[in-house]
Symmetry: C2
Subunit: 341 residues, 2 copies
DNA sequence: TACAAAAATGCAATCGATTGCATTTGCAAT
DNA sequence: ATTGCAAATGCAATCGATTGCATTTTTGTA
């Protein structure tokens, strides 16, 4: 067993020299090419691992003009330019990261969510990645359409829109909005408010579910009960408190996120209302903290982690030129005390 | 103004051909080399932007043997192998992402936090990045030491340890633990529990601050009041409820995270205790949701976002071979109702 | 005007891996 | 022994940018 002196093996050429073959042969051996003799392959693979050698991924990707990177862009409210603090995002990110690593892809995190969606196509976010996952559409539906038209493989987490031309994965927003509202109605609530930015497609769909539930119960929708609440907690609270000062008659609230619901409960309590006795509250997402809020939050559960892997599978399918259809994940009502049940 | 026909310009050579110079000249012009004539530089830069050309970062990095990537690894509890749901992590990630983008670095997110810390040195996480930021030490102090010894530029967010050989950035954990505890004592509390995994250096330091505050008030520490609570909410609640069943006498709790504090409040309330009347609770981190919990959470504020940028600056300094010292960021008590104040 | 020095530009190697197209080897059939 | 064919291996170009070392152009000075 003569051991080669342990010297650094850093390239195909080094290994080829040691083995006395050409680097083409080594390359083929390590890539399981059928061109290579089975025994040669085995020998070279053994040699590679013996010398603790792995191919230089950077050189390989450069040669093959691939990056094995997927960008992830979190769409923020146009209002709050700060980073999101909603645990929903973290869970989603975890799901995406898991999915990507399964396929040996890396995750490039888009930091400053696109001050200018205009030149997104030329940004590193797009150019350095083989595909992009957008979490949320914000109010940038058209920019997304344009990007998809340009041939960039993109998948978007969000709600459906009439003239959508990109691949979409989302929850059953209309269903979620409907069951949240229906449940409140079943509890005897009649003056039900809707809190959220209805300019985003997701919330639009939830709102339509809300309207449908009202109609089904012969309740009149009231414009004053539809309130655009920022998704950022601090701002949300201010807006909600202003609203409460107007003494608008209401006995329940459907929120477009758990975080918003928690802010709402705080604002309501602050203003002397009791939840759920005076006003019932339903959230959306079922983030881990939802069941620990007081009162525990009734909410619409989205399988966020699963959503991440669906997003990954979809964008990879796109990249590989496969046919892919939109996906709608189920959304399920989780009843806890904040709705009075 | 004769416009060149708009054809794809995808390499230095293309641009050089158009400009009638060599690609070396173009390269130098775009890199602001002093070797180049100022006017030539201006002309070529204009030409580049006119043709919407930017250098191929992949080729550039390959040639320069750099990756411009920093890996970020979130250390999880050994217990809960799942993804973290603590908003603390998301804020930290945001801070890091902002800092990195400032320096034109990319962020590689380590997905499955190191099932095997053993071969970390050979993982893509380390090999594909110029440096690594670890958020938390978990119980992997020695593995981190080894990695640093191997010459990998790493920075760790955490608490100080005697034989530490890596660069550390952290909050003033001893101070935080001390002021949380002191404040409770000042409120008249005497039987103060400490909730958290004291095997991690951060919590160890917080615990020492807790002990110091007790000693200073001539209070006897009681082993039964030191409880290892998992950082995962669901598990935390179970453990806390078991604890409460033992009817151990206590009138206050110092927690090692806000998320844990919120779980504790829920468990306490569930078991019939009133917060803060029966038992006061103090959290740690001051995550956005802390002020919205009910009762609003007294906690130790860490400037998480700032921490992110300090981590980035530190790891980059390390990469560039500069001298860097550990950083301790201040931690400040934020008093809200959960402590009875 | 001539010549040296400085400034600007070009040439060509290089990073490490992949792969189309030779070329060589091995083996069977004639 | 020769031929033919398949299997295995080698050669060398290639991806796009950077940079040390010429080489050319410009500038300054005697």
């Amino acid at each position: 067993m003569s051991k080669n002196p342990p010297r650094a093996v850093s390239s195909l050429q080094d290994l080829a020299d040691i083995a006395g073959v050409s680097r083409a042969t080594v390359s083929r051996a390590l890539n399981n090419s059928t061109l290579i003799n089975a025994e040669t392959r085995k020998r070279l693979q053994a040699l590679a691992s013996e010398h603790n050698y792995t191919v230089n991924k950077q050189a390989r990707d450069f040669r093959l003009k691939q990056t094995r990177v997927i960008s992830v862009v979190f769409m923020l409210d146009a209002h709050s330019e700060q980073h999101p603090s909603d645990p929903f995002f973290l869970e989603m990110l975890g799901g995406i990261a898991d999915g990507l690593s399964l396929h040996d892809y890396d995750l490039l995190l888009a930091h400053a969510p696109v001050a200018s969606m205009r030149d997104l196509a030329n940004s590193r976010i797009v150019r350095n990645a083989e595909g992009v996952i957008f979490v949320g559409q914000g109010e940038e539906h058209e920019a997304l359409n344009k990007l998809a038209d340009a041939g960039t493989p993109i998948v978007v987490w969000g709600g459906s829109v009439a003239d959508k031309r990109y691949l979409l994965v989302g929850g059953d927003n209309a269903g979620g909005g409907f069951s949240a509202t229906s449940h409140l109605i079943a509890q005897g609530r009649r003056r039900i408010a809707f809190f959220g930015n209805t300019r985003t497609p997701e919330n639009q769909a939830r709102f339509s579910g809300y309207e449908k539930a009202l109609a089904q119960a012969n309740l009149q929708p009231d414009d004053k009960l539809t309130v655009d609440i920022p998704s950022d907690m601090q701002h949300a609270q201010v807006v909600i408190e202003n609203l409460l000062n107007k003494r608008i008659d209401m006995d329940a609230v459907v929120c477009t996120s758990d975080v918003m619901a928690i802010a709402a409960i705080a604002a309501l309590t602050e203003s002397g209302f009791s939840v759920p006795d005076d006003i019932a509250v339903v959230g959306y997402d079922d983030i881990p903290i939802a069941s620990f809020s007081s009162p525990p939050l009734t909410t619409i559960r989205q399988s966020i982690h699963q959503a991440g892997s669906v997003l990954v599978e979809s964008v990879l399918a796109l990249i590989n030129g496969h046919q892919v259809a939109d996906t709608t994940l189920s959304s399920k009502l989780v009843v806890r005390k904040s709705c009075g049940a």
